[in-house]
Amino acid sequence: MARRDFSAARLPGFATIAITVFVALYAPILMLVAYSFNAGDSIAIWEGFSLKWYPVAWNNAEVREVTLRSLTIAATASVLSTTVATMAALGTTRRRQTRGQTFIYLLINQPLMVPEIVTAVALLIFFASIKVATGYQGLGYLIAAHTAFCIPFAYLPIRARLEGMDLTLEIAAGDLYASSWQTFRHVTLPLLAPGIGAGMMLAFVTSLDDVVITLFVKSAGQDTLPTYMLAQIRRSVSAEVNAISTLLLLLTVLLLTAFFLLTRKRD
């Protein structure tokens, strides 16, 4: 008989642990979704099926306002961070390996490694001094902060795509009279597009979902959807929040599905 390689899947108790983990991960989400269809406003007592919380959430002007703000920030931050990430990825893969490479890589991925709370406090202090100096109180701070922590999420899929790209294609474009810009525009960019799209979606979802940094950086009246939900839940838990969460979940699932379709290896 052929020697069987070690596999964690054959350890005793593996199935039990796996099932426990999946239940722990998904049971609360399933419950949240289920109670968003509850007829009563309790999130513990089932009072029958109803769709009423969705129109309630939709007609809540405050919900609409914070949702719009979240989407604005996420859209702007994802476009900006993806632009920066694309340039960073081109800069780190399109040149010969240098000793500084690892350092630059670490710099770009800093938001993944520094604890979020540290970044949040640092930004709070930094932006506070700018607010004092300039008097500007707008959304710019949130957008800047979100752009910064979204960069590594946008960077990773773009870099992966670039590394898998055949450099001969760019040489061939140059051979066929394309200038550097034409080569980028007609060869590199189209081949990179799925990576850029994937990076942008990941950045969008990451921004949409952020609480910690947003809480620290936002000025008064700048609640985003997550910070608004947090405030609501602190006051009273209502099925309305469940409905909003379910919609947010749906959006995220759609975006992540698109992400996987874009990054999937094509044969």
Binding site: I171, A172, G174, D175, L176, Y177, A178, V187
Partner: protein, 354 residues
């Protein structure tokens, strides 16, 4: 000279620095004529691709110059050189259709759409791929992709077409077909082809002239016949075709092999201790009674249809390989252990410098 397309002057290319330096080309000078099918032939790693890359502009020479039609293009970037390349890996753009791939060069040059359409159609016609115009490269077979790469490189009508082992990924039958096809295209279009291969048979059948290279040096440049019949040294003779090598002492017009067998050689041959080379098909086998230069014993004979490959042993144990041409009566080489006579065609015996 007006008929020279590409001229390389004292080209040298060193990759890397200091202790890691690799000399890929060592002082190579070469003139390639307009409309010529010119082949760079040599074993893997001898610097063929490096030379091609410098003509295309993908690499800059460490020393020396490259001239196109008499103008120095050494400093010109690839996109300014009227030179196109057929890449070994084809390098077709996967996001573009066959038509867009073939039209890429002209489109980058900013030619009008109508002109591009016309040229692309003609180029696709040349390589017989009109029916595949709207497919993506991934939907084509290897041979078809190869032809797209060829059409794409030909469409902008370059002065010089560079082909880096373009046929090496194809199977034998397809390779033979493409060899004929390439030769036909080259004759039809009159474009200078610089073709790289490590396959000596391919080089002999397709080229007007061949340059034989070895470890960054140019050993010999000449027509296939010159190279085959008058190799300048043992490396060239060995690399191209099959050859018998016999150590010999040359004095005047006599080469002595095995101590006491004297053979006549060209008076201009280098003197002293050298290698005598003779192609198997230049040795004629005659019955032992007939007049002959040498006597030999047949030790092995393998029938190949058009001829037999015969192994011969001379007195003092020197071994030679010869061909025995089959005739219309089905005549075959004499059986093993037969005594025969050998006659060398005039000029068949060459004294080689090592």
């Amino acid at each position: 000279m007006r008929d020279v397309a590409i001229e390389a002057v004292s080209l040298r290319k060193v990759y890397g620095t200091d202790q890691h330096a690799v000399v890929a080309l060592d002082d190579v000078s070469i003139s390639i004529r307009k409309g010529e099918f010119f082949t760079l032939l040599g074993p893997s790693g001898c610097g063929k691709t490096t030379l091609l890359k410098m003509i295309a502009g993908f690499e800059t020479p460490s020393e020396g110059n490259i001239l196109l039609n008499g103008h120095d293009i050494t400093e010109q970037p690839p996109n300014r050189r009227p030179v196109n390349t057929v890449f070994q890996s084809y390098a077709l753009f996967p996001h573009l259709t066959v038509r867009q791939n073939v039209g890429f060069g002209l489109s980058m040059l900013g030619r009008p759409a109508a002109e591009i359409d016309e040229v692309v159609n003609r180029a696709l016609g040349l390589v017989k791929l009109e029916a595949m115009a709207d497919r993506k490269p991934q939907q084509l077979s290897g041979g078809q992709q190869q032809r797209v790469a060829l059409a794409r490189a030909l469409a902008p009508s370059p002065e010089v077409l560079l082909l880096d082992e373009p046929l090496s990924a194809l199977d034998l039958k397809l390779r033979k077909e493409m060899q004929t096809e390439l030769k036909r295209l080259q004759l039809e279009l009159g474009i200078t082809f610089i073709f790289v291969t490590h396959d000596q048979e391919e080089a002999l059948t397709m080229s007007d002239r061949i340059a034989v290279m070895s470890s960054g040096n140019l050993l010999q440049v000449g027509t296939p016949k010159e190279i085959y019949n008058h190799p300048v040294n043992r490396f060239v003779a060995d690399f191209i075709g099959e050859t018998n090598f016999i150590p010999a002492q040359v004095a005047g017009t006599t080469a002595t092999i095995g101590g006491d067998i004297a053979l006549p050689v060209d008076p201009a041959s280098p003197q002293g201790s050298h290698t005598l080379a003779v192609r198997p098909e230049h040795i004629r086998i005659v019955p032992s009674g007939a007049e002959a230069t040498l006597r030999a014993l047949i030790t092995e004979s393998v029938y190949f249809g058009t001829d037999s490959h015969v192994r011969l042993r001379l007195a003092n144990d020197i071994e030679l390989v010869a061909r025995f041409q089959s005739d219309e009566a089905g005549g075959d080489a004499p059986p093993v252990d037969t005594e025969v006579g050998l006659i060398f065609a005039p000029g068949a015996l060459q004294v080689l410098e090592d």
